[in-house]
């Protein structure tokens, strides 16, 4: 590890530490009620005291987010490929996609709950709905942005449509697909929490609501921070997959 690497790791941590210190200082100095705004120390205490509960409630939220995101990838990418490769499908599907996207997901959540119940499925569907759009849009954009030169090269060799898709268009679209996936995975967590807020039996969103209604603000904050950690971990997982699938993007450019 060079000095430069050390600095890259150190400065963000330093920033967080300073922010936490100022926060704690403010809360202690002005004697802020912990129900209004708990300090980092209170939140940490609450997190340690309720560690088992936090862990137990993380699992459903994690599952809802990851499965919703996975569904968005599995359905979104083929839809994007259709939209990008056929003018007819583009004209037919795109307005519907945009209309679906402009419906507020919070407003749809109660209906989804009526259809899919209080369990995992309803949250999964809401997470899917939220994550779907960025994946479709970014994949379609990437597919359309295939360099003309590569397409002409493939055509000059009389490549079949399938060959052009598999060997040129899809790999060329990978950077866009991952850009969409990174946005989608954090949105999926938000989708899962929306679902839990509207109606659920467990999950971090459920815990947050319960703690809040019992005026247990330190625990509510702990759940909130833990939710962000979940989002960051899932984001990092997508980045890790990206590096694995696209090793060339890591290599420095001249």
């Amino acid at each position: 590890m060079t000095l430069r690497d050390l600095r890259t790791a150190l400065y963000p941590l330093l920033g967080v530490a300073v922010m936490l210190a100022l926060w704690q200082l403010y809360v202690s100095a002005f004697g802020i009620n912990r129900i209004v705004l708990p300090g980092p120390v209170d939140i940490t205490r609450a997190a340690i005291a309720n560690w088992a509960i936090l862990m137990r409630e993380t699992w459903p939220t994690f599952l809802e987010s990851v499965l919703g995101f996975a569904l968005a990838v599995v359905i979104g990418i083929p839809v994007a490929v259709c939209v990008a490769s056929s003018r007819v499908l583009n004209l037919t599907l795109y307005p519907i996609l945009i209309a679906t996207q402009s419906v507020p997901k919070v407003a749809v959540a109660p209906i989804i709950l009526v259809w899919f119940g209080l369990g995992l499925q309803s949250k999964l569907v809401i997470a899917f709905l939220v994550a779907f759009f960025p994946i479709v849009v970014d994949t379609a954009t990437g597919m359309r942005a295939t360099p003309i030169g590569l397409l002409e090269l493939a055509r000059s060799l009389r490549a079949s449509s399938l060959q052009i898709f598999m060997k040129v268009q899809f790999p060329a679209a990978l950077p866009s697909i991952f850009a969409g996936a990174k946005v989608a995975v954090t949105l999926a967590v938000i989708g899962a929490v929306i679902g839990e807020f509207v109606g659920s039996l467990n999950g971090l969103g459920n815990l947050l609501l319960t703690a809040n209604s019992q005026l247990d603000s330190p625990l509510a904050w702990a759940a909130l921070i833990w939710l962000s950690v979940l989002g960051i971990v899932l984001f990092a997982a997508v980045v890790a997959v990206e590096r694995l699938v696209m090793p060339w993007s890591e290599i420095g450019h001249h």
């Binding site: 002409e152 090269l153 000059s156 060339w248 420095g252 001249h254």
Partner: protein
């Protein structure tokens, strides 16, 4: 042009115009006629936007001409042919493929990627001075090196006709001169017929058997200049009186010099 050598490419009254909404059609190529002799290197020389690239695409079968006869090896060109190799202005390498896999791309499409193809790719890369770069990615190479990879890719399936669209246009002068010598070297070794688009008079004269000078749009053949300089050519030739005279003739055809 030599009349006794067999015509490999036969182009008569090739015409190209593009329809434009609400306007008269844009005539890119008025009338181009010439013969491409087997094993020769012909350059298409002309000002920017004169239709040289359009003509090359027609010969490649990537675009249909509006009129005229385009024949390669006695057959009308109606679609791309695997006997052609193309080098574009940009290297057009796939960033997700290693150098070796970029060179092998045509063999994959043609369903002929085997041990022999891999060996040939290695030989070609060695020929252009890129031995040891097989596993590198394009982003690790300079512009000149990328264009060398593109050249190997165009040659991997042993094309009879090599079509090159201003392939060295984006390179600096010194790299460009190196690439010209490399091209002549490769041509001597493979015997391929080459059609080369450029807007550099010096480049056209230095590498060609024949310079086909295109007028500005709509293009006609302004002059057909046989270059009688012996191969192999060397940098010293660029300063010979004969070379200067040929450059003058091309310049006159382009309307630059008198």
């Amino acid at each position: 042009m030599l009349q006794d050598a067999p015509a490999f490419g036969h182009f008569r009254d090739v015409h190209q115009s593009f329809a434009r909404a609400g306007q008269a059609p844009l005539v890119a190529i008025e009338r181009i006629s010439f013969d491409l002799v087997a094993g020769q290197l012909a350059t298409l020389l002309g000002p920017s936007g004169c239709g040289k690239t359009t003509f090359l695409k027609i010969v490649a079968g990537l675009m249909a001409a509006s009129g005229g006869t385009v024949q390669i090896n006695g057959r009308d060109v109606t679609e791309p042919h695997p006997d052609f190799g193309i080098v574009f202005q940009q290297a057009n390498l796939m960033p997700w493929r290693t150098v070796l896999n970029n060179v092998l791309f045509p063999m994959e499409i043609l369903g002929r990627r085997d041990a022999a193809a891999v060996a040939r790719a290695g030989e070609l890369l060695a020929l252009v001075g890129l031995a040891g770069f097989e596993q590198s990615y394009p982003s690790q190479l300079s512009g000149g090196m990328q264009q060398r990879v593109a050249l190997c890719r165009a040659l991997i399936h042993r094309p009879k006709l090599l079509l090159m669209d201003e392939p060295f246009g984006a390179l600096d002068e010194l790299t460009r001169m190196e690439m010209q010598d490399l091209l002549l070297d490769i041509r001597a070794k493979t015997g391929a017929t080459v059609m080369f688009v450029t807007h550099s008079i010096g480049e056209a004269v230095y590498i060609s058997d024949t310079v086909v000078v295109f007028s500005k749009r709509p293009a006609v053949v302004a002059d057909l200049i046989p270059v009688a300089l012996a191969y192999p050519r060397s940098a010293e030739m660029r300063y010979a009186a004969e070379f200067t005279e040929l450059q003058h003739r091309a310049g006159r055809a382009l309307g630059i010099t008198r």
